[in-house]
């Protein structure tokens, strides 16, 4: 990892270079142990069985329950990303039309920065206190309006509940990542559209829309990856069953492993990395396209 040249150094330049490299040894050694090795453990473990190299872990990903988990994970991430992206974009637009240095904009961006980080156990408990079985809203609606939000079954601990809870950190994240793109829109473009006889409809569909589309898609992809890799919120909320991939991995890590499937957890982990990597690559490509006009 530390790539110190093994050749005998000749001349002062080489010696100082080697000495310089020594200064980075602690960092690279640390990263090798706690980042590179774990990554390799996942990547190699996914293809390792009892008798060495095998594809059986990866082919086990084709099992119905694993495929279902991936399907539900992708559905959850896609829906929460879509809702988060649309509502977040509307909120960001509202902020852009407000005073640039006004109190409103500063407070909402600061709050978004905080709420985008807000996930995990505390978020799960916040929603339990709100729409749990004895939560504030649940009780209020039942006692005062006579409506039972769980008349058709308790959905909070299932996929619809997760979608709602995930939206809570997806919208603020969208505001943070989409705001710079909206700021890049120049008022002159709207004036140019108007002086050429274009209406508001023309402006949004022919000018601002196409310009913002890559940024919007890219941000939505980032939200997707964010939801796809989230674990803590779901873990705290869902205690029975493992509807989504991260919870399946929890099952593989904590329960007694089925013989011959010790490395299925690693294969699922690798599958997650592949999905996230594909999404993030697309994000990077779209980001480059966005930078052309709105950078």
């Amino acid at each position: 990892m530390t790539s110190i040249p093994t050749r005998v150094p000749r001349g002062r330049l080489r010696i100082t270079q080697v000495r310089s490299l020594l200064g980075t040894v602690p960092f690279f050694a640390y990263v090798a142990i706690f980042l590179v090795i774990p990554t390799l453990v996942v990547a190699i473990g996914a293809f390792t069985g009892d008798g060495g190299f095998t594809f059986s872990n990866v082919t086990a990903l084709g099992d119905a329950y694993v495929l279902d988990a991936f399907g539900r994970s992708i559905l959850l991430s896609a829906v929460s990303a879509l809702i988060g992206a649309v509502l977040g974009a509307v909120l960001a637009y509202v902020l852009v039309t407000a005073k640039p240095d006004g109190l409103l904009r500063r407070v909402v961006t600061a709050a978004s920065g905080v709420l985008a980080q807000f996930g995990g156990v505390t978020l799960a408990f916040a929603f339990l206190a709100t729409i749990g079985l004895s939560g504030f809203v649940t009780v209020f609606l039942r006692d005062h309006l006579g409506t039972d939000i769980y008349a058709n079954g308790v959905w909070l601990f299932e996929l619809p509940g997760l979608m709602l809870v995930y939206t809570y950190f997806q919208i603020p994240l969208m505001v943070i990542v989409f705001l710079p793109a909206l700021d890049g829109i120049k008022p002159q473009w709207r004036e140019a559209t108007e002086s050429l006889g274009g209406s508001t409809w023309h402006y949004w569909t022919r000018v601002a829309g196409p310009l913002l589309a890559p940024a919007f898609l890219g941000s939505a992809l980032l939200l997707f990856a964010n939801a796809f890799s989230a674990y803590a919120t779901a873990a705290a909320l869902v205690s029975q069953g493992s509807p989504i991939v991260p919870l399946q991995i929890r099952g593989a890590l904590t329960s007694e492993v089925v013989l011959g499937q010790q490395n299925l957890g690693k294969a699922m982990a690798l599958g997650m990395v592949v999905v996230v990597a594909v999404v993030m690559t697309l994000y990077a490509l779209l980001q480059r396209r966005t930078a052309k006009w709105l950078g």
Binding site: F27, F34, G113, A126, A235, L270, M272, V273
Partner: protein, 264 residues
């Protein structure tokens, strides 16, 4: 023309308030619900929370978790600084060719979900257990990796704002050793960057659950989750307290960042 624009401004204002009110309710409702939830009944949840001896007697697991999280946050911030600041400065001064590699490595954890990292960390921590025991403080190693992207960006931005090379050469020319250069010349100049990296680290570590729970160690979030199974009210109260703490930390950070930008 002016009439059209005035009409648009008016429409935008209406839309703004509609959106803000609707989303404001969505975001504030859970927080309000937490307050309502924890003040039901005899209402001594909050008085218990501020009474540390009483709290640790009633909920020893929770007290352990809080203590563990605070220690982890402190140590992670320290280890992150010791590991990252000298390396970042050194690479800038002597090995500019390595900068893209260091940056790539530091940003790598962003693309590896924590749940994936924990799968790979399990065997590594088998060794950590062997050498250092199963203390919750050993989580600091994994947390330092988790905070690398955020800490690196903060520190790198701080270093970009000053002329490290000139400063270091001037100090060296006056006879300072590398240690003096780091501690007495570079560090004071990137104070605010170091501070924001440390704040982010603390906020992240206080909210970490995935790795701690799956490596069978304790911290605040694990303790809250455990408490949720026996005492819902108390667990919601601690959640709210932890949340408010994180809010304050990150709000200070963002206001601090604003001021830095404004003064530049």
């Amino acid at each position: 023309m002016a009439g059209v624009r005035a009409q648009r401004v008016r429409r935008q204002r209406v839309l703004r308030w509609v959106v803000l009110v609707v989303l404001g309710v969505f975001f504030l409702l859970p927080l309000a619900a937490m307050v309502e939830f924890t003040t039901r009944g005899d209402g001594n949840t909050w008085s218990l929370l501020v009474d540390w001896p009483q709290l640790s007697a009633t909920y020893p697991d929770l007290a352990d978790g809080i203590a563990a999280s605070l220690e982890q946050a402190l140590l992670t911030a320290l280890l992150m600084l010791v590991l990252l600041v000298p390396t970042a400065v050194w690479v800038r001064l002597r090995l500019p060719g390595l900068r893209p590699l260091v940056e790539f490595i530091c940003l790598l954890p962003l693309t590896i979900p924590a749940i994936v990292l924990v799968v790979g960390l399990a065997p590594v921590y088998a060794w950590v257990n062997y050498f250092l025991g199963g203390s919750s403080l050993t989580l600091v190693f994994a947390y330092t990796i988790l905070v690398l992207p955020y800490a690196y960006r903060a520190i790198d931005a701080g270093l970009s704002a000053i002329d490290v090379k000139t400063l270091a050469e001037a100090a060296r020319g006056l006879g300072a050793g590398w240690f003096t250069v780091m501690v007495r010349v570079v560090l004071p100049n990137i104070r605010s960057a170091v501070l924001s990296a440390a704040f982010l680290t603390v906020a992240l570590v206080l909210g970490e659950f995935t790795i701690a729970s799956l490596l069978n160690r304790t911290n605040l979030q694990v303790a809250i989750n455990l408490l949720g199974k026996s005492s819902a009210t108390m667990s919601v109260a601690v959640s709210l307290a932890a949340l408010v703490l994180a809010f304050v930390l990150l709000l200070i950070l963002s206001l601090f960042g604003d001021r830095r930008k404004a003064s530049r």
